[in-house]
């Protein structure tokens, strides 16, 4: 079996048109799916913040005593200081690193395992399907925050344990998202055709089934990222997030509790950062859904 498999690769357009086309295509895309643009820009800003954090802040997020404890926003300390006199703006910008470092790898982990399990369950069906989906039901039975709390409390809070725990939590929903379309796809003519010309199981799964179920997976992964951000911040709010001195939004919000009425900014900025990050991924996910998967709108 060589590369004459189906579908036939699309011919590359002529070079002259290739420069104008992406721009026009992008413009049409943005005009038809404004949500996609909004989400992409918001997520883009978040990623830039995380990557370029050292270039964006004036003070180190770890430096203690930059100003008096809980001082209000000023020209030098834009968001004021925290309990230890650290620059809150720097800590929030660096906090985006903690958030993304936990949420994105955990969703990737969930995606890899969810894909494997969902593909096997949907394609092989029968007993394999039963066993895999019942295992997923077991994980789904626990409230996600409760299970995450218990696991992190037992293993000890660290970035690695956080991303492993949150990743495991989202395997079941990913496996479910994959399984459904696989069940539908495997009955289609092109799969029968591929099987008839002698394609092996793995080839069929990877070349023919996977490309046809990518859209819902991408959409779900984006939405799962926002849920991962919320679980991470909830864990860190409860004191089981990335260990200090790692800046983490949930921890900043909870440690501001005792000073809230005197220094409301110390609660508002970290909270808004969480809302921003989670909403950005939700908007991007919804925009992607409108674009890639119009039937599910």
């Amino acid at each position: 079996m060589t590369s004459q498999g189906w579908p036939v690769p699309i011919q590359a357009p002529a070079a002259r048109r290739a420069t104008a086309r992406p721009v026009r295509a992008l413009r049409t895309l943005v005009a038809r799916y404004p949500l996609l643009l909004v989400g992409a820009v918001l997520v883009g800003v978040l990623v830039v913040l995380a990557v370029a954090a050292p270039l964006l802040v004036r003070n180190s997020p770890y430096q203690i005593g930059l100003g008096p404890s809980m001082s209000p926003p000023s020209a030098n300390l834009w968001f004021g200081t925290d309990k230890l006199g650290r620059d809150l703006f720097s800590r929030i910008v660096y906090g985006s690193r903690t958030t993304l470092l936990v949420s994105i790898p955990s969703v990737l982990l969930a995606m890899v395992f969810g894909l494997g399990l969902g593909l096997s369950a949907g394609y092989f069906g029968g007993r394999t399907d039963q066993v895999i989906m019942r295992l997923m039901d077991i994980l789904l039975a626990f409230p996600s925050l409760l299970l995450a709390l218990a696991i992190v409390a037992v293993l000890g809070p660290s970035i690695r344990n956080l991303l492993l725990t949150i990743g495991i939590l989202y395997i079941p929903s990913m496996a479910r998202v994959v399984r459904g379309p696989v069940l539908a796809a495997k009955e289609r003519e092109y799969i029968t055709a591929a099987r008839t010309i002698g394609a092996g199981t793995w080839r069929i799964l990877l070349r023919h089934v996977l490309p046809n179920i990518l859209s819902p997976i991408i959409v779900d992964a984006t939405l799962a990222t926002s849920r991962a951000i919320l679980v991470e911040s909830a864990l860190s709010y409860l004191g089981l997030g990335a260990p200090p001195p790692n800046p983490s939004w949930g921890e900043m919000l909870s440690s501001s509790r005792q000073f809230m009425t005197l220094a409301p900014w110390s609660a508002l900025f970290p909270g808004l950062a969480i809302v921003y990050a989670a909403t950005a991924f939700i908007l991007l996910g919804n925009g992607l859904r409108d674009w890639l998967d119009p039937r599910r709108r």
């Binding site: 019942r134 218990a150 037992v154 293993l155 409301p264 909270g271 809302v275 939700i282």
Partner: protein, 316 residues
């Protein structure tokens, strides 16, 4: 219907067994000695006899499978062991915490329905600007963690409303009025996200039903729009909305953990945080088991309700 119930129960058995196994294993993943973790390294070093006593109490000297089977047999009899920090039976602790959590969860669902369903109906029937606003509000509401809503309420609303007590919980049976007042902020904190999820699902459920032939017939025979929505659309859209609510049980319980901690409500969430703070691992284990099985039972009940309301499901 009976056959359907039986088949659902058969499906449930291995899942419940898996839940017991997972609740057991999670605690056993603790690196190092559980007894030392419970006691603290220092006191374990100075008090080897006490350490041995804790080992014996937790049954740590027995092989792992015996520990599991012993724990499982106890759980079947309703004996989850004794809490190390509270010095009472774990089942007793759960029983006294459960009413608060149930009240909080039910009131939040009620709030979510009352706020979310009308928004979803408006978005589906009016469309246009309403739809856009709703989608934005839904994204924001889902992306807003309950603990931040609680923070905002305490910062901006609580100072204006001195008649709403924010702390000092009293049980419903003792002082119903005060109890309900204390519940306002916690319920709004959890219910807002839920309302937005309900709005989103109501919107799509109503949109689905609006395309049905019987709605066209109702319109064709001259019924007014509100009457069509009320009499023909809502009744049929209610079923998927109910099933979504069932699936939200886990989300709801996750919310109660953090909100009970913020507002000092003596519920299950507060209990689990106590267990974690005091390294009371048997307590955490018991709560894991209890909630896991609880969620499965609620999901089963939702499925049965769904099948009862829509006979097509039963013959699937």
């Amino acid at each position: 219907m009976l056959r359907y119930i039986l088949s659902r129960l058969v499906f449930m058995a291995p899942v419940v067994l898996g839940i017991t196994l997972l609740s057991f294993v999670v605690i056993k993943m603790l690196p190092g000695d559980l007894a030392i973790a419970v006691m603290g390294t220092e006191s374990a070093n100075t008090n080897p006899a006490g350490l041995e006593a804790i080992r014996a109490e937790l049954g740590l000297n027995r092989p792992l499978h015996e520990q599991y089977l012993g724990w499982l047999a106890g759980a079947l009899r309703g004996d989850l062991g004794k809490s190390l920090s509270l010095k009472i039976s774990i089942l007793e602790a759960i029983k006294s915490a459960l009413p608060t959590t149930l009240e909080l969860a039910l009131l939040s669902v009620l709030f979510g329905l009352v706020v979310g369903a009308p928004i979803g109906i408006l978005a589906a029937t009016r469309g246009g600007v309403w739809d856009g606003i709703t989608r934005l509000a839904v994204s924001l509401g889902v992306g807003m963690p309950s603990f931040f809503i609680a923070t905002l309420l305490l910062l901006f609303i609580a100072p204006q409303t001195p008649w709403i007590p924010t702390f000092n919980y009293v049980p419903l049976a003792q002082d119903a009025k005060r109890n309900l007042l204390v519940m306002i902020f916690p319920v709004v904190s959890i219910g807002t996200g839920l309302a937005m999820t309900i709005a989103e699902n109501t919107r799509s459920a109503v949109l689905d039903v609006l395309n049905e032939a019987y709605v066209t017939v109702a319109r064709a025979k001259g019924l007014s729009s509100p009457l069509v929505v009320w009499r023909h659309v809502l009744k049929n859209a209610a079923i998927p909305i109910i099933s979504v609510l069932g699936l939200q049980t886990g989300f709801l319980l996750s919310g109660t953990i953090i909100i009970e901690t913020i507002f000092s409500l003596p519920g299950l969430g507060k209990l689990v945080i106590t267990g974690i703070t005091f390294r009371d691992y048997p307590l955490v284990q018991g709560i894991l088991l209890f909630t896991g099985v609880g969620v499965v039972v609620v999901n089963l009940l939702t499925d049965l309700l769904y099948a009862f309301a829509d006979p097509r499901i039963r013959y699937h």
